[in-house]
Point group: C2
Chain length 379, copies 2
């Protein structure tokens, strides 16, 4: 079982400490995405120096290339990535439903075509766990069915029941192995339907898993719906298990989710946006290709202590982006990872001090120019 | 004047120490190329950790984008690059003759079309120095004319005389400014014609410049011709000035040139080859995309202490290259920079110990599979 210790609470928000075989994670935490075994554009050393404690890798990508057996032969995912800290892998399910050409889904399995070479691949709950065991991450996810954001109630209900059944099958295979080395998380589904979410949560909690994820959000339902769904989770899940909101990284959404009891986040936002020249600051985002930075000798953020801000001006970064140099996305990624790590650290401090509401309102005003924040913790 | 202190000699080979306003360089040294203000794919921090002491940037690229004035406004080249160590800039001449669409050349100037936006640009010796002053490198180069490798004797003779006249004009402008902050190097031309090389050297030495470069080699003349030209330089140039062989980086050529008295080298070889998946070791080169590395858990070189070899297997590097991940060229570049820095360190040690010939033969046998080395120092 994954030791998780809640430390402080502020309303439904909480800080905690999650312990894995590869180190601890202070929560609430943001987990950057390292799809194919690398957080794009940065070395593990740069990730660590940015204050990141845990990274995510995508089972779907790794099972297709280089393959779970190859990863295992190379010493497992920690060795492949050159990252000695905690790693989380997803089950592959989300990418099957979003990236691959899905051929068939039934209670037994999903069948899809690889986006790499077109090969037909079968994924079952059992296989998802076995592959993740070969990869060797510290936190692994059950296979779930993630219906589209506009799915009808009966389709979502089928996905909920199927995901519950799959969670049970995943747990069985997980417990047959060296289960203490990896923590299996269940995934709640149910779209925006309160009763389906509740049914999903009840069944998962009955399975007594090391952690619980909220899936099927940030798929176009809007912030009000997301807040409504998240408003119930504090009562749906036990306090001594980490809660992970999958695929969410917008700072506004992070604040709303932390206020409702979420502990973990992952998203491509800071890294993808960095490669697209967008960097985050406490006073809003900058587009580094913008002509206004051409002769600006100041860093992205004069108060930021990241490697990029200590060594490069906005003008230099703009030049590197315009020249198409690899260093530009690397430096922007370093900054954004550092910003998100600092943001989560500030959130933890605010929760510890019982100041989350007040601080969140300040941060949102700075980042979004005064748009109202909803961190009240209620639906 | 740039302080340069020769330390040990071994035949014509020598070690030395070059002091600049931004730090010292132990010679013989290899200077990686940072064309547009960045050594492609790596941060200045990674460059420094690889053991590199000095980097080169290309005046031609920087004058076109972002422009010398912009670089100056951003705090100069050291600030632009985020590199606080010594920097060398070339004059722009070589790229004008190799990259740009050359429109006109006479004793006064070269006129060319920018490869960035097609604009017509005029470069004179005076302007080359003034631009390099705006950039602010520690070592700057005269504008020279670099004829093609197959140029006839009379064309080479014109280039020699023109380059001598341009060296004189460069020196005048250089001495009018804050000249002690930057060391101006003259560039010897003359192709493979011994008398023209000698004439070029005599005229440059008469100008009493802080350092001398050998230009117009590694343009297809072959190793024997290169060795013959370099065989004369120890007698052509004073011992208390650094000698820089431009554009040469092949380890075999470096050894042959060091044995003839060269102190400085620059080349895109380690960085460009890294991006093309080729990494250097003492026992030859590896192509990291090769299928034989797919399941190889060993590093590129088990004895190498670079970040890449301490953290990544050949199998992991192959995977990252096949997946098209930016991290792959970054890690290969870190390794190659480290290898070249270690190679130069080993050369310096061998010279100090009077063992260059013996060591060079060993290294060449390892790197090239027993091909005979020519480090005898004679033409």
């Amino acid at each position: 079982m994954l030791p998780f210790e809640p430390l402080h609470t502020d309303g439904k928000a909480r800080t905690g400490r999650m312990t894995t075989p590869h180190g601890t994670i202070d929560t609430p935490a943001f987990v950057p995405v390292g799809t194919a075994g690398t957080v794009k554009g940065v070395t593990p050393d740069q990730i660590r120096r940015s204050g990141v404690q845990m990274v995510l890798a995508n089972t779907y990508h790794l099972m297709l290339r280089p393959g779970a057996d190859v990863v295992a032969e190379l010493g497992g995912l920690h060795a492949l990535m050159g990252w000695s800290g905690p790693i989380l892998t997803d089950s592959g399910g989300f990418q099957v439903f979003s990236l691959a050409h899905l051929r068939q889904i039934d209670d037994e399995k999903v069948v899809f075509q690889s986006h790499v070479d077109g090969a037909t691949v079968v994924l079952t709950p059992e296989r998802a766990v076995k592959i993740q065991r070969r990869l060797g991450a510290d936190v692994i996810m059950q296979l779930d069915e993630c219906p589209p954001g506009d799915a009808a109630r009966n389709q979502v209900a089928v996905a909920v029941d199927r995901s519950i059944a799959w969670a049970r099958r995943c747990k069985e295979v997980w417990r047959e192995g060296d289960w203490e080395k990896q923590a299996l998380f269940g995934i709640q589904q149910g779209g925006a339907f309160e009763d389906l979410r509740a049914r999903s949560a009840r069944a998962l909690v009955e399975l007594d898993l090391p952690g619980y994820a909220v899936g099927g959000l940030s798929v176009g339902e809007g912030p009000a719906e997301m807040a409504r769904v998240l408003g119930a989770i504090d009562s749906q899940f036990p306090p001594d298990r980490p809660r992970y909101l999958m695929g969410v990284g917008e700072p506004r959404d992070i604040l709303a989710a932390v206020a409702r009891g979420i502990d973990l986040f992952d998203c491509v936002l800071p890294t993808r946006n960095a490669r697209n020249t967008q960097v985050f600051t406490w006073t809003g985002r900058l587009r580094l290709r913008n002509a206004r930075w051409a002769r600006d000798p100041d860093p992205i953020d004069a108060r930021c202590r990241c490697y990029t801000c200590r060594n490069f001006s906005r003008g230099a970064l703009r030049h590197l982006f315009l020249a198409g140099e690899m260093l530009a996305p690397t430096l922007a990624t370093i900054h954004n990872l550092h910003f998100f790590a600092e943001f989560m650290k500030a959130i933890r401090r605010a929760v510890t001090e019982g100041e989350l509401d007040r601080k969140a309102a300040q941060w949102l005003a700075g980042m979004y120019g005064g748009h109202a924040a909803d961190t009240s913790g209620s639906a």
